[in-house]
């Protein structure tokens, strides 16, 4: 009896050792999609694993965007990097400039026979994670763009019919909303919405060196008259009770909209699903306002969110799997599924057409506004930006905007400090690659 048990254990042991030889090639995917988004990621992975027998993609949630990037960097330094790493917009320069940290997605797809044409991707998505020649380095994954949400009940109470298309119109309706008991506006991300996309919307250059795409040796151009005019207005609106500032946290400002303290809120095109659930009033979605005094026809905004990068140092067989998974993830069915489940925009024109053909935008027209805004005509400065230590630069921006709002600094002083502190960071970043 004892012998039999021993034999069984031994056999099981041998089987266990032998197993991996026949098993699928495992592909690690580290991502920053928490909550419901994480569930959708898991669902895509499960579906992919069931769809073929060669590869197994294993998604792992690594925390927020910064945490995921840090985890990926630490793993890379220890030669334990995942095959696929999700990196957010502000971290793009960090990974793309590191020589040989990642395999450009355009090369990866072409090499493994998946074919690749960046023109398949919608205008605002195409260039953000590309190099200066337009070759895509990262595969855009969760893409969103800033939009304006407005409370229709509040507008009716104030006797305002249309949401503001321009900031000039905003100034005209803000006092009416105030009279109806609402602060006119709040927003959830000053650098993304009212700095980076402010430049894109008004087609203003954001930094030297082609917005940072051509070189790391660049200077930031935020200290310009348009920005100073806008932020001077922001301070005026704050003091007049037309703008509500609820701190830096995304959620606190969104809550102010949900709780009907503010009549309009600027957030992400991906926010509408959550708003639909949490609001008990009817709201509308519209394009990001622009200054008529700066530009007659506003340009497209660019995307926020993150992209997937194929990390270097893996075998050819594994890259074949990564390419296969990328192809699966970007096919029309999966793009439409991702779009509907999360509110992020589909990244290919074909997927967008498919969602349209299915009649999705007839039932939820809000879902289309982000894509429409991204598809507006582009300009010279609408493809994005590529700036080093941009996480720290955003930190500088947050601080200077706080100083403007609290009255600690004049607009002039805040922007001049923002310029010098950001340039010091850019200079440090450039010195790393000399």
């Amino acid at each position: 009896m004892k012998k039999l048990i021993m034999k069984t254990i031994l056999a099981a042991g041998i089987a266990a050792i032998a197993m991996p030889v026949t098993a699928k090639t495992e592909l690690q995917w580290w991502h920053a999609m928490g909550g419901r988004l994480g569930e959708v990621v898991d669902e895509i992975a499960t579906n992919y694993n069931a769809s073929q027998s060669e590869y197994e993609i294993i998604p792992t949630y690594k925390g927020g965007y910064e945490d995921t990037m840090t985890a990926g960097i630490a793993a890379f330094r220890a030669k334990q990097q995942p095959h696929v790493l999700q990196i957010f917009d502000a971290g793009a320069a960090t990974i793309i400039n590191a020589p040989g940290a990642t395999i450009p997605v355009a090369d990866l797809m072409a090499e493994h026979g998946k074919g690749f044409n960046s023109n398949d991707y919608i205008e605002g998505v195409r260039n953000f994670y590309a190099d200066s020649a337009g070759k895509m380095i990262g595969m855009p994954f969760n893409s969103s763009t800033p939009l304006l949400y407005y409370n229709k009940d509040a507008f009716a109470a104030a006797g305002v019919t249309n949401p503001p298309a321009t900031w000039e119109e905003f100034e005209a309706i803000a006092p009416k909303l105030k009279a109806a008991g609402y602060t006119a506006l709040a927003q959830s991300h000053s650098p993304w919405i009212l700095s980076e996309n402010f430049h894109s919307r008004h087609n203003i250059q954001l930094s030297t060196g082609n917005n940072g795409y051509d070189s790391t040796d660049v200077k930031i151009l935020y200290n310009n008259d348009h920005m100073k005019m806008h932020w001077g207005k922001m301070k005026e609106w704050l003091d007049a009770g037309h703008y509500g500032f609820f701190g830096r946290a995304w959620g606190d400002n969104q809550d102010a909209f949900v709780q009907k303290k503010v009549a309009m809120w600027m957030g992400s095109s991906g926010s509408f699903g959550g708003l639909k659930k949490s609001t008990d009033f009817e709201f509308g979605t519209t394009f990001l306002p622009y200054w008529k005094s700066i530009i007659d026809e506003p340009k497209s905004t660019f995307i926020g969110g993150a992209a997937l990068f194929a990390m270097s140092g893996k075998s050819d067989a594994e890259y074949k799997g990564v390419a296969d998974f990328f192809a699966y993830m970007t096919n029309n069915e999966n793009q439409v599924f991702w779009h509907k489940e999360t509110g992020y925009v589909p990244i290919t024109t074909a997927a967008y057409e498919m969602a349209k053909a299915e009649g999705y935008y007839n039932e939820s027209p809000d879902a289309e506004i982000g894509i429409l805004q991204l598809s507006q005509p582009g300009g010279e400065w609408t493809k994005g930006y590529r700036l080093g230590y941009y996480v720290q630069i955003r930190e500088v921006m947050y601080k200077k905007y706080d100083d403007i709002f609290s009255g600690k600094s004049s607009v002039e002083k805040a922007f001049s400090e923002m310029e010098s502190e950001s340039n010091a960071l850019l200079e440090r970043f450039a010195a790393t690659y000399k």
């Binding site: 971290g91 960090t94 200077k400």
Partner: protein, 292 residues
């Protein structure tokens, strides 16, 4: 004879070896890495790197944000140490005098000890939330135009309040046991000489508590420097305008969020030197005044 001596001396080394190994692995090796890294400018992935001598240190000391954080850390640590020691001492003295329901008071006062700093921060965050926070509403209702999202004094108030609240219980436990260690005979003898309880406290009890107070001061300064990280991270995140940023939090922001390894290593080396200097000062100059 020699052989015996040799055997004699290895055994103690064996006993301390685990401790030495822990210090080497968890302190000396990482500290050495930090010092090495602080002389480099390196991309986050470690693929290209330059030896830049003291550039990271020069950039650190010259950075307006670092200087701001250094000032705030100094003021914050002084306030947190002084207030949490003062309040804990007062509570310990009072609790020590209570006869009925003494253990209830003591347990209640010790409770907060079990709460981790980030959790304390999250609780504070809820209480000071601009839309739903009770304390936020209360302060505004009594005429204080409280807005910690924009006012740096108010933000400092929030983090000091939470940090002190969290630390008082630890200090309370130590002060209470210190007080209970003072012999009754000493107090009774003092009562014959002096009628005023306040004077008795300052001339008899407080000096006898000095070893406890000194120990707690060292612990509290370390707490204010390092452990309040969780509170800052979950409440203000250094806002508004960087006015509540501490040196440790800045190391985290630049190194872990911003992937600037050289810069944040230089910052942590400077921080290490500051803490070392503080510890030397404490033991050299203050400990001399303590009688055990």
């Amino acid at each position: 004879m020699k052989r015996v001596q040799f055997e004699h001396s290895t055994i103690p080394y064996l006993f301390i070896a685990p401790q030495i190994a822990i210090i080497a692995i968890f302190f000396i090796w990482p500290a050495g890495q930090a010092i090495h890294q602080s002389f480099l400018l390196e991309d986050a992935f470690g693929l290209s790197s330059q030896f830049v001598w003291f550039r990271n240190y020069v950039d650190t000391i010259g950075d307006a944000a670092w200087i701001q954080a250094a000032w705030f850390t100094t003021i914050f640590s002084a306030l947190v140490t002084f207030l949490s020691l003062g309040i804990a001492l007062l509570l310990a003295v009072k609790a020590n005098e209570v006869i009925r329901g003494a253990s209830t008071y003591k347990t209640t006062l010790m409770w907060a000890y079990a709460i981790a700093p980030p959790v304390a921060g999250l609780m504070g965050n809820l209480m000071f939330h601009p839309l739903i926070g009770d304390l936020y509403k209360f302060f505004n209702a009594i005429g204080w135009e409280f807005n910690h999202k924009l006012d740096s004094f108010d933000a400092g108030f929030v983090v000091v309040l939470i940090a002190v609240w969290k630390q008082v219980s630890v200090n309370f436990i130590f002060f209470l046991s210190g007080l209970q260690g003072i012999s009754k005979a000493v107090n009774e003898a003092a009562m014959m000489d002096c009628k005023s309880p306040t004077r008795r406290f300052w001339t008899i009890t407080f000096p006898l508590l000095a070893p406890t107070t000194f120990f707690l001061m060292v612990i509290n300064i370390t707490y204010a420097f390092f452990e309040t990280f969780g509170i800052i991270d979950t409440t203000t995140g250094g806002a508004p305008g960087g006015s509540t940023n501490t040196l440790v939090y800045k190391v985290f922001q630049d190194g872990f969020r911003g992937a600037d390894l050289g810069g944040s290593s230089a910052q942590s080396v400077v921080l290490m030197i500051i803490v070392l200097a503080l510890t030397i000062i404490q033991f050299r100059f203050i400990e001399r005044k303590v009688h055990y």
